[in-house]
Point group: none
Chain length 421, copies 2
Amino acid sequence: MDKSKTDLFINSERMKDDFEVLAEFGATGEGGVHRPTFSPAHLKARDWFRDQAHAAGFEVKSDGAGNQSAILYCGPEPGSKTLLLGSHLDSVPNGGRFDGALGIVAAMESLRIVKENHIKLPFNLEVIDFTDEEGTLVGLLGSSALSGSLARETLHNPRGGREALQEGLNAAGITEDSILSARRDPHGLTGYLELHIEQGSRLLNARASIGVVTVVNGIGSYRFTFVGRADHAGTTTLTDRLDAAQGACSLALSVRRLALVGFPGSTVNVGNMIFSPGAFNIVPERVQTWVEYRSSNSKVLNQLEASLLERARAEARRFSLELEIESGGKHEPSPMSEAVQACIIEAAEKLSLKHLPLASGAGHDAQSLAGICPAGMIFVPSEGGASHSPREFTHWEDCQNGANVLLRTVLNMGDHDSHPS
Amino acid sequence: MDKSKTDLFINSERMKDDFEVLAEFGATGEGGVHRPTFSPAHLKARDWFRDQAHAAGFEVKSDGAGNQSAILYCGPEPGSKTLLLGSHLDSVPNGGRFDGALGIVAAMESLRIVKENHIKLPFNLEVIDFTDEEGTLVGLLGSSALSGSLARETLHNPRGGREALQEGLNAAGITEDSILSARRDPHGLTGYLELHIEQGSRLLNARASIGVVTVVNGIGSYRFTFVGRADHAGTTTLTDRLDAAQGACSLALSVRRLALVGFPGSTVNVGNMIFSPGAFNIVPERVQTWVEYRSSNSKVLNQLEASLLERARAEARRFSLELEIESGGKHEPSPMSEAVQACIIEAAEKLSLKHLPLASGAGHDAQSLAGICPAGMIFVPSEGGASHSPREFTHWEDCQNGANVLLRTVLNMGDHDSHPS
């Protein structure tokens, strides 16, 4: 690496200003943010992104899926390949202010440093703010559209419901057809990098500053609806009932046990149940049960899925209920590029930061990108492991370290790209 | 009993005409009715009641709680005591056409027969259509106002919400103050009788035509909220979670077991759960769990309540959750008058109808009246035990038998009243 490049660091004050302004959009009283996809607060954060990119002198673009980009032409020519630095500005309902936002401000700051120092790289740089990473509407919507892995059927049966999707698209001025047109030619991409909070406690437990992500765990989900019979709760004896709640509740307990016993390291979650008709004095006729499962290993993910389906059917039989099964889709585990991991490790070591290889339990846009180009992720510690919550917190020093590793990884990738070993 | 009285029967055709006209108000396509309190369909049914009463030559009255009455002065003098024959014209949302309506048409028909045959009784007769039995607004609103058991606080925190109550009262031209003024002097009442469908399967199972209600079960309810911690479902290991769903679901299974094993004949129902935040990928932080319990015995009801509370606390401890407890109130079991039960049994036997003593699992206006005068209820079989549903059905022969038992019970009560044994 040039001597000039080894002295480059991000401007921590400027990045912190960006971070704090961004945390105001949809701020909750408790230090978190509420920025579901295309909500008013999210639209304001998107405006802010374009304003900042313009102010920094980057080209601003957006695609048919609502992904927004700030482009720095630091490559040999405008048509050179692009290294994408991404994350997202949407949040889960009542989420934290670091998830997604940190990756965006660190990427924006990295481009500013490259521009201000007139660094030439073998590729252009593009900050990309992906649409609906968190899944208010679909989940990984923008990145899967860009990578070509989004199926039209997914848009017809989105996890947030058709109505929410249509309202969201109207608010953002995009359409189903435009989303599917957002597919990018993989030949134009040299790679993908993302800085993110860990959302777990492994870095803290290991007293490490930097996580080098080896794989983004696979994930799948189902809506199981147990169907019994609505009866008067005062006149129907317990043994005469077809009580949908019994099947749903038994499933919620048994899937946890089955994951703990049979699938160590994998996770399951029953995140929601919707009772119908939902009255004190009526036996529940229908209980919709939302089940999610994850694993870092493709074979284990499939075995876990089969066990969940078998369990749901067994609970329905046990309580004489009908069972309706709707798949919420499945993403296979996505290994990160070993070459990119090597560049991240080199950066962390140069900065004397203790690093740890780890699997990402959470889903990320990187898993969409991993299918079409070398992708890598840098994690920084989450205090208490908290995330998707206003309690989410990362010390600023860790954010700064992560951003410096991101910047240096970009430079390392440039070096390796121009001087293949 | 006079020879003349023993040959009296209701006019089945006329009563069936009434029943069928009434089933048209708020008729759903499926054979049920949708007549929530003071809805347009309910107001029409109430108009019909007054028209029929006028046409039959009864005096028509209404009180400050919206209860409507048709009065026949068949007693020794206008100021004689009154035997009330009641039920209700409102329905649950998308309910059945028998619940409430059958009791009203049978009572109206009984008064017509007494009038047409110039029967003299030791009391006057009054058909009473009680307001909001089903609880669109408050539940047992009219009967608890009449009996003086309605507290002003209940009107301030009604189960249907303040807004619905205010809208309903406006539609019916009554007020909170007028409701509380509807209290009647118990000294003016000689008793209360009601014919109703069973809403269960015990009569059918026993091949009996007439149920002689011994008690209206007591009922209570709680909203238990289990509080854990919202965490990312992909990054938080199963053992690190404080998952509110585990406590709620374990409670739903265990309260059923505890009622089955420890409280035979009592019922419990977990009719609703509300998850928060309620997302696939977030560990549930709060799960509100609606639990209702019923028993025919006051002591058992209290023991069941204590067991439910103990169980809820134990589940919270087991999963390291906090527990918030809100009581939804409690009504003690209401025994029916033994003297009235004897008159019902005498009537059924005279008509050679097999009868069965049973507790009412459902709540009824009779439980309000039991506090101020001798009260009794006559049940007829419900096909399939279905109720609060368009599936609700009772064969007309059973309706007719029930109405004849009601008429004869009135006459029996007259005999016993004038010739105390």
